[in-house]
């Protein structure tokens, strides 16, 4: 919101001597940071950021109130013309509690235009003057005092005016030219022909003030904030008026703003008052709030004097009475945000300045909790993978249905994981798998010229269920491209599926992971983190003795059928060997040299034996032939 410095200084003369920088610092210390300063037509305006709870601050008067309270300096009194309420010229009926007060007047407009300085003020705020005094005056009042008002062309109003809920299906063409179809939750101003304005949001096209307007009906009311917010949202119509009524305008300003508007029209264009009257009344204030000394002291962080707190609250417009160790506080009509004692404590501390809050470490009242095993496991996994050469990615949790489908189990339908309002179809399904995202990241890296890509992600994947999608932490790993060949010792080769199995094994995955071919030379797997081993509960495991006698190593070169299952063969060989002496049995080479019979391949099997004694050559020979026999039973043959 733009605040023009000259008008601000008219409201709070003490600000006149401050430059833009000083004002910005002062406002920021009060909770109103300044985003920028602009000069338009020789007037300097500050762009002030106002939080959603402070509708009362959305005007020059509002800002002036804050500065006055902080500095303890007086505000300029609002000069209203002497106007006496009269009997209604047009009947006004309040038919909804959402509008408790409606202050109005009818004037006959004379000759004259919006004064130059008011036009310049509006231009400085980026609010374009319409050069229609009734419209510009209403606009100027809004920015200056924060109270939205409206002027209707009185000659276009038919019969009595009502403030009521719209009837479903009624329509209204608003000032922006849009035809609005209304519902029973829309608060409207109507005449006997139908709606003429969306209350507190926008006037109607049919009754708008134009160059031809001779008589105006002024509206200065107060509308329920919640109602205005709902109407503005329903019609996606956010206006200066709806922002202020929606955050809570000052009901006591209804009559004042009407008087100010009348006064301006009389001065600016010699308007003649036809009638001036108010229907309804300012709603009764809520009860007083109680602020106790202990609460104030706790929030402020050090003992506070109640008398000083009372003074601060009074400077903010509250009525305050001190009763013993507590204050009884009635907030001013414009401060709808002061609803509980903590709000009052905040105001006292805020006015004093947050820089005065002491700095204290909170005492520990109980034993600290350890980090959860699951959290530590994920930290450990990511560090391990980073050390294994993998890069941790972060990708969106939602992907396209096409990318999701190939990796989703049939019992995990996408319908249960679909967003109702995605950013786009490509971001519409909570993913069942990390692999589509990892593949996309890998492809992107290859497109960027990467020779080898190693990526992993630790993130939830989603499983549809009756209660909504369940989440489980998942680890996805992809690896592809060329390996080695980048120095004089390491031979070059392509990444293979087996490389991924090695990683899964390194992470403690029992068994074989399902390795997916994700593209040319790109492979990946994913596993639920919960199924990977966690760190052992014991800091140091129980000692298990190991043999100090030498290991005996034997290699067996076997010819086996293509398609022979390695795990079957290895299990068969193992079962033929003494379990406590066989240290290791593994295939260390697979090859198909020329001259091998069709349909066969060679596996070089390495067997390692060790016991708590020196092994004899003959007994090892015996085991090796037993292993060979077991292999032969599966069709293998010793390679000559």
């Amino acid at each position: 919101m733009w605040i023009e410095r000259k008008i601000l200084a008219q409201e709070i003369p003490a600000s006149a001597g401050m430059d833009a920088r000083q004002l910005s610092e002062l406002l920021a210390s009060l909770g109103f940071p300044v985003d920028g300063v602009a000069t338009r037509g020789g007037l300097e305006a500050l762009d002030v950021d106002i939080t959603a709870n402070r509708g009362d601050a959305m005007s020059h008067r509002g800002m002036a109130r804050e500065i006055a309270a902080k500095l303890g300096q007086p505000l300029t009194p609002i000069g209203t013309p002497a106007i006496t309420e009269q009997s209604p010229v047009i009947e006004v009926r309040l038919e909804s509690p959402a509008c408790p007060i409606y202050s109005t007047a009818v004037l006959e407009l004379g000759e004259g235009a919006t004064p130059q300085d008011v036009q310049a003020f509006l231009l400085a705020l980026e609010a374009s003057p319409k050069k229609l005094p009734a419209v510009d005056a209403s606009n100027e009042l809004l920015h200056r005092y924060g109270h939205p008002t409206h002027a209707f062309d009185a000659d276009r109003i038919q019969g009595a005016v009502s403030i009521r809920w719209a009837k479903g299906g009624e329509t209204l063409v608003t000032l922006d030219g849009v035809t609005r179809t209304l519902t029973g939750q829309d608060l409207v101003i109507t005449d006997e022909a139908g709606p003429i304005a969306l209350a507190g949001v926008m006037g109607g096209e049919g009754t708008k003030v134009t160059e031809a307007t001779r008589r105006v009906l002024l509206e200065s009311a107060w509308f329920d904030p919640k109602t205005v917010r709902a109407v503005a949202r329903r019609h996606s119509l956010h206006t200066d008026a709806s922002h202020r009524f929606g955050r809570g305008a000052d009901p006591a300003m209804a009559v004042v703003a009407r008087d100010l508007l009348v006064g301006r029209l009389q001065t600016w264009c010699g308007a003649k008052l036809v009638g001036v009257w108010t229907v309804g009344s300012v709603p009764a204030a809520e009860g007083a709030l109680v602020l106790t000394e202990p609460l104030l002291t706790r929030v402020a962080g050090e003992p506070q004097s109640l008398a000083e707190a009372a003074d601060a609250l009074r400077r903010l417009g509250c009525s305050v009475a001190i009763h013993g160790d507590q204050l009884s506080v009635l907030p001013p009509t414009w401060r709808h945000d002061l609803a509980i004692a903590e709000d009052l404590a905040e105001e006292v501390v805020r006015l004093r300045g947050y820089e005065h809050i002491p700095s204290v470490l909170p005492p520990l009242e109980g034993p600290p909790e350890p980090l959860s095993a699951s959290f530590l496991q994920r930290q450990r996994l990511s560090r391990r993978l980073a050390h294994l050469g993998f890069h941790q990615t972060v990708t969106y949790g939602f992907i396209s249905p096409e990318a999701d489908a190939p990796f989703a189990a049939p019992e995990n339908p996408a319908a249960g994981r679909t967003l109702s309002n995605p950013l786009g179809q490509e971001f519409s399904v909570l993913r069942a798998s990390l692999l589509p995202s990892l593949r996309a990241s890998a492809e992107q890296n290859f497109r960027q010229g990467a020779r080898e890509v190693r990526l992993f992600e630790l993130a939830p994947t989603y499983v549809s269920g009756p209660q909504g999608p369940a989440e489980r932490h998942t680890l996805g790993v992809v690896w592809g491209g060329a390996l080695g060949g980048e120095d004089y010792l390491s031979p070059a080769r392509s990444v293979r599926e087996a490389d991924l199995c090695g990683i899964a094994k390194d992470l403690g995955w029992a068994g074989l992971p399902e390795v997916h071919a994700l593209g040319e030379g790109l492979f990946g797997f994913e596993v639920p983190v919960a199924e990977l081993p966690q760190a052992a509960a014991r800091i140091i495991p129980t000692f298990r003795p190991f043999s100090r006698f030498p290991v005996v190593e034997r290699d067996l070169s076997l010819l086996v059928d293509l398609g022979q299952s390695y795990s079957t063969l290895a299990a068969a060989m193992r079962s033929a060997l003494p379990r406590d002496i066989l240290q290791d049995l593994r295939c260390v080479d697979v090859f198909r040299p020329k001259g091998l019979p069709e349909g066969r391949q060679a596996w070089l099997m390495r067997l390692r034996f060790q016991a708590d004694r020196t092994l004899l050559g003959e007994e090892v020979d015996g085991w090796v032939s037993a292993a060979l026999m077991a292999a032969e039973a599966l069709g293998a043959k010793l390679r000559a």
């Binding site: 809050i357 980090l371 949790g397 950013l423």
Partner: protein
């Protein structure tokens, strides 16, 4: 004496030094040796035959001349052989010598994600104060994401223009902040809060808001939430904790500044600025010359948040803060575009995340 020797021997004798020098290796030298002093067909053999056939009176002089020649050749060959052998030895030594400047095989190097690293760092910073980590699901209920946090039922953040909802479960949404973890945790610990002596935790995680992707917006980003509940907790404790934590993060000379602000789930609320860690508060592009950068939002827990969880706000109070991880990462690294954090280019990850 030379007239006693045939011309071709004389020529061979003259060519010998040149031929010797031209021998580049031991094989060539061997061939030369064969030609001059070999047992068959060599110049030396010819000379001996010459000597045998010579008249008696010439034998003496001819013998001396022949011996002189043979000796000259043999010595020359020997010296050249030693030279060549030594050169070969030197070459062998050179071939065996390892040049450490040759690029060695290097273990593959990966990297943690910079966002995860920053979150882990925050956890480390808060651990000594007794904070642990609480986590919650990304798919949340409206109750946890909004209602339990004193966010009014008609708050604009609830609109489908701001928050993602599930099609099959209209009451479920993607959490818009890590604050629902507050609600879940408080609900869980409320029954034994006294036995625990309050609670203090961090909640790092991914959150979602319906923002179009651009250099400063992403529909998914990370937050770290912090919360502490105890007896008599006030703004001084918030300030004290944040001062400790931000100094641990940015250095001991870091200053912090609290400014009043508003969030529905705290009262009082504040924005927290930190003296610019990049220029030491002298004023730079990052702090826009002000010496301060906004780092997080915080405040004392609103009594309604405690009440929702079944905690008596007359007995207990606390503070909470929330910070945007990407925002902080961008500020600290001066990364110009938020989208880089989600492109997962290995070069970016290596440079920004690295290893521990």
């Amino acid at each position: 004496m030379d007239q006693l020797l045939p011309t071709e021997i004389l020529e061979a004798g003259q060519a010998f030094p040149g031929a010797l020098a031209a021998c580049g290796d031991l094989d060539a030298l061997l061939r030369l040796k064969g030609a001059y002093v070999g047992r068959e067909g060599s110049h030396a053999v010819r000379l001996m035959e010459l000597l045998k056939a010579a008249p008696k009176e010439q034998k003496r002089d001819l013998g001396a001349a022949i011996n002189g020649l043979k000796q000259q050749w043999e010595e020359g060959l020997k010296a050249r052989q030693a030279e060549l052998e030594s050169a070969k030895k030197n070459l062998n030594a050179l071939a065996d010598r390892w040049d450490p400047a040759l690029p060695p095989p290097t273990p593959a190097q990966g990297a943690l994600n910079p966002l995860n690293r920053l979150m882990d760092r925050l956890v480390e910073v808060f651990r000594p104060l007794g904070f642990h980590v609480e986590e919650g699901p990304e798919v949340e209920t409206e109750a946890h994401n909004f209602d339990g946090l004193n966010i009014p039922e008609d708050h604009p953040a609830k609109a489908s223009s701001d928050t993602f909802y599930l099609a099959a479960h209209p009451e479920l949404l993607l959490r818009t902040h890590t604050s629902p973890v507050q609600v879940r945790t408080l609900l869980r610990v409320a029954p034994d809060l006294t036995a625990r002596g309050g609670i203090r935790f961090l909640a790092p995680g991914r959150v979602y808001r319906k923002d179009e992707i651009d250099p400063t917006h992403s529909p998914m980003f990370h937050q770290v939430e912090g919360m502490l509940v105890g007896h008599g907790i006030g703004m001084q404790h918030l300030k004290g904790t944040l001062e400790y934590a931000l100094r641990a993060l940015f250095g001991p000379h870091t200053e912090i500044r609290l400014r009043p602000s508003y969030f529905p789930f705290v009262e009082p609320g504040c924005e927290v600025d930190v003296s610019c860690p990049l220029c030491g508060a002298k004023g730079c592009r990052v702090c826009k010359g002000s010496g301060w950068v906004e780092i997080l939002g915080a405040g004392l827990i609103h009594p309604n948040v405690l009440r929702y969880a079944g905690i008596d706000p007359d007995e207990w109070s606390g503070w909470a803060f929330g910070m945007g991880v990407e925002r902080m990462a961008m500020m600290l690294s001066q990364t110009p575009d938020l989208r880089l954090f989600f492109e997962n280019d290995q070069r970016f990850l290596k440079a920004m995340g690295g290893l521990d």
